[in-house]
Amino acid sequence: MSKKDLGLLILILVVGAIVAIINPRFLLPINLANTSNLIGLFGILSIGQAFVIITGGIELSVGSLVALLGTLFIDFIATRGMGWPVAFVIILMLGAVIGLAHGWLITRLKLQPFVVTLCGLLIYRGVARFYTADGTAGFAFGQNFPELEFLTAGRSWGVPNSFIALIVIAIIMWVVLHRSVFGRYLYAIGKNEEAAKYSGIRTGRVVIAAYVICGVLTALSAIYFAMYTRSISPASHGQFYELYAIAAAVLGGFSLRGGEGSLVGVVLGTVLLQELQNLVNLLGIPSSLNFAVMGGVILIGVLVDQQWGVFRARRLMADATRKSVAGAAAE
């Protein structure tokens, strides 16, 4: 865990302690379970986003995708009678195909990620609304999918299974991002795509893979969100979720220029965001202020981090010169 991540963890604990003191209901198992469920849902989404941001890209369409893929999933299993494992796989594949399409447009046709995914944001939202004729996708009364419901909305030993899913995914993706060849390529491309290309890396393929990973994880979280809400009105479901994901990554130390950030960071960023949401509810802050609180905390967080970076750079330089003095004296 880097110092940055540690700082974030301490912030989370301090905020948690303060909230718990003011309102002890924060620590009730039911509250913690609900919050960790939301952390699981948003965490999976944010990890996907992080893989795109690390390449210096951005994926704005994930909120709309959560609506579209969620709508399709519920429609497949509730009205079309498809077996849920089949629907599950199809949705993940759809997520992959959409990620592939975004990556292809960005790397082969040289469109800007912001533009491609902004169009995606509009298109998928529109398609989702059209698909349900602006109605609501949901389950019929008494319709049950016990295994699926257990895996998505159930709990094991009191812990929401969505949170456990996040932990498993986070561990796998941590290895991919921080230990694998592919992860190193992602960082290299994020730092300097030209230099990576000149080192013989097939940068296009790596970037496309990042968008595919984002698409698949978005699809997975779309299923979780669908099973959490159990009914979806595509006009509003998942709205602004791309911004939650981006905010979690930024809080977690990711640079939108690419090449910086850690997986632990993005998970902790998600935790902090959900903690803040919970804080707004528990402390009786008007829920209309919800976004304002979030925005304020992110701004402060990024500011502190940046100032800390300046301070550390100065100290490093002082250290280096001290060392060189010692070296010169030894010679």
Partner: protein, 512 residues
């Protein structure tokens, strides 16, 4: 002091530095340095990287103040300068990295922030007046372009003229040129040296900082040599010579330029062959070029003659617009740099910081990057394998760094270039293409890089070296191919090497 030009000697100095000392925590950057600059005098300032040149420039530019010592500008003694004070007393800089807005035209650049305004509340720029003000400045620097030419369409030398015109526009009395020729081809360099002479004729002093000693030799009235923050010596006009400068710079005579490989070598088989390759630089002109095993083929020519574009095609970065390539006699099709790397064709690119290395990664991470799967087990990177490879390259190439975990961004230019070389040497090159391999690198590191290139050739690698440095092309190559407007205008064998022949071919005339 010994001045050949008596009129300069007679006048009072414009700038005098006395006993200037500047320390940074742990480093003495300048130690009791003194010099003076007289009106109309051209001073060549030379020294290896780290000798204290940049600190001196920072002091003169007012970016930093000396710890002790006096700066006398135009008769007024000061402890240090401020940025405004430096500008106000007529000291202007032309930096190696040009500070121009490429999207604006020449006039807008020269008077940026100081545009003449029309009367009225809108404060619109008076374009006619602006053009009027720019014209005489452009004339003084001998510009062959007009005030409304977009800067993006100018050559590097022309852009430097814009910078110099900018300096003149603030009524500069001392123009400091920091490595102005390091990216200029021969013909353009001549133009720049002419501009310096014109400045001198107008009574403007010039400090000319350069690693290209023969240019210093041509233009300087006096050479000031810095070594380890102290004045290593001053050479009056009559004594200025390549060997004397080098001796003062490094404190010893450099051993005879490598002529060890002078003995005629039996040329090896053709390794890489370009057949009627057409590139984006000159789409209508095919290039034929063979690089043989065991030779260093120098590729000379003016900047913009299509050399870099050719290198990019040979390395698979760009697709050729036409023509074919062969490697060891077999057809070669490259879709990307990855394809070239897989076949042992490597490029040390022209722009080290942008394309050569990743400044934020460590030495070890840079060296393993092109061959990462070989440093991984089951797709997971092995840090110890990376370190082993990097340690070997660090030792073989003499990369000076605390450890292989050091960020490459903190290394000097020469050591960064060695990291670029190291990443390729770690994976058995067949063809090595080097684009301006020693640009901006100090003399000591240059000699080491020449040695490495020779060792590669001796080991049977085909080496293609693109260079605009005439001394380098002639001193290092086994054969020289010269490009002119997108085509090979001629190939010189060792017995016909001369600056004159290379120049003639570079401008499209037959050699002697």
């Amino acid at each position: 002091m010994n001045y050949s030009d008596t009129s300069i000697a007679a006048s009072a100095p414009f700038l005098t530095l006395e006993n200037v000392r500047k320390t940074y925590p742990g480093v003495v950057a300048l130690d009791g340095f003194s010099m003076e600059v007289r009106p109309g005098e051209v001073i060549g300032l030379v020294g290896e990287n780290g000798a204290g040149k940049s600190t001196l420039m920072k002091i003169l530019g007012g970016v930093t103040t000396p710890d002790t010592g006096t700066i006398i500008v135009d008769g007024t003694a000061r402890q240090g300068l401020t940025v405004e004070g430096s500008l106000g007393s007529g000291i202007a800089f032309v930096h190696q990295e040009l500070n121009l807005f490429e999207n604006l035209d020449v006039a807008a650049n020269i008077f940026f922030g100081r545009e003449p305004l029309r009367a009225g509340p809108l404060k619109l720029v008076d374009r006619a007046k602006l053009r009027e003000m720019v014209a005489p400045l452009l004339k003084r620097v001998g510009a062959n372009f007009t005030a409304d030419t977009p800067v993006a369409s100018l050559s590097l030398a022309q852009q430097q003229m814009v910078e110099i015109a900018k300096a003149l526009s603030i009524k500069a009395r001392l123009v400091i040129l920091d490595e102005p020729t390091s990216s200029l081809p021969i013909a353009e360099t001549d133009k720049l040296l002419d501009v310096i002479k014109a400045l001198k004729a107008d009574g403007i002093s010039v400090i000319f900082i350069s690693h290209r000693l023969h240019e210093v030799e041509r233009v300087a009235d006096r050479v000031v040599v810095l070594r380890d923050g102290t004045l290593a010596g001053t050479l009056p006009k009559a004594d200025i010579g390549h060997d004397q400068m080098v001796k003062l710079m490094i404190g010893r005579m450099l051993k005879e330029r490598e002529k060890a490989s002078e003995a005629a070598r039996a040329p090896g088989a053709v390794a890489l062959s370009a057949k009627a390759i057409r590139t984006s630089a000159y789409p209508g002109r095919p290039v034929d070029l063979d690089v043989r095993r065991g030779e260093i083929l120098g590729l000379a020519g003016l900047v913009g003659s299509g050399r870099t574009e050719l290198a990019r095609v040979l390395f698979g970065i760009d697709n050729a617009l036409g023509g074919t390539m062969e490697l060891d006699g077999k057809p070669l099709a490259l879709g990307s740099a990855a394809d070239a790397v897989a076949r042992g064709i490597f490029l040390v690119p022209e722009d080290r910081k942008l394309t050569g290395i990743l400044l934020d990664l460590s030495i070890a991470q840079n060296i393993s990057l092109p061959n990462l799967p070989a440093h991984a087990r089951r797709l997971l990177v092995s840090a110890s394998a990376e370190t082993t490879t990097a340690e070997k390259q660090k030792k073989d190439l003499g990369i000076r760094a605390p450890s292989v975990q050091t960020r490459t961004g903190t290394l000097s230019g020469g050591n960064q270039q060695k990291v670029v070389l190291g990443k390729w040497l770690a994976m058995n090159p067949k063809v090595m293409i080097l684009d301006e391999p020693t640009r901006g690198i100090d003399i000591g590191a240059k000699a080491e890089i020449y040695g490495l290139m020779r060792a590669l050739a001796d080991a049977g690698v085909a080496v293609l070296m693109i260079s605009s440095d005439m001394e380098e092309v002639i001193g290092v190559s086994d054969r020289i191919a010269v490009m002119h407007e997108g085509q090979i205008s001629g190939i010189l064998d060792k017995d016909r090497f001369s600056q004159e022949n290379v120049l003639l071919l570079a401008v499209g005339k037959p050699p002697k």
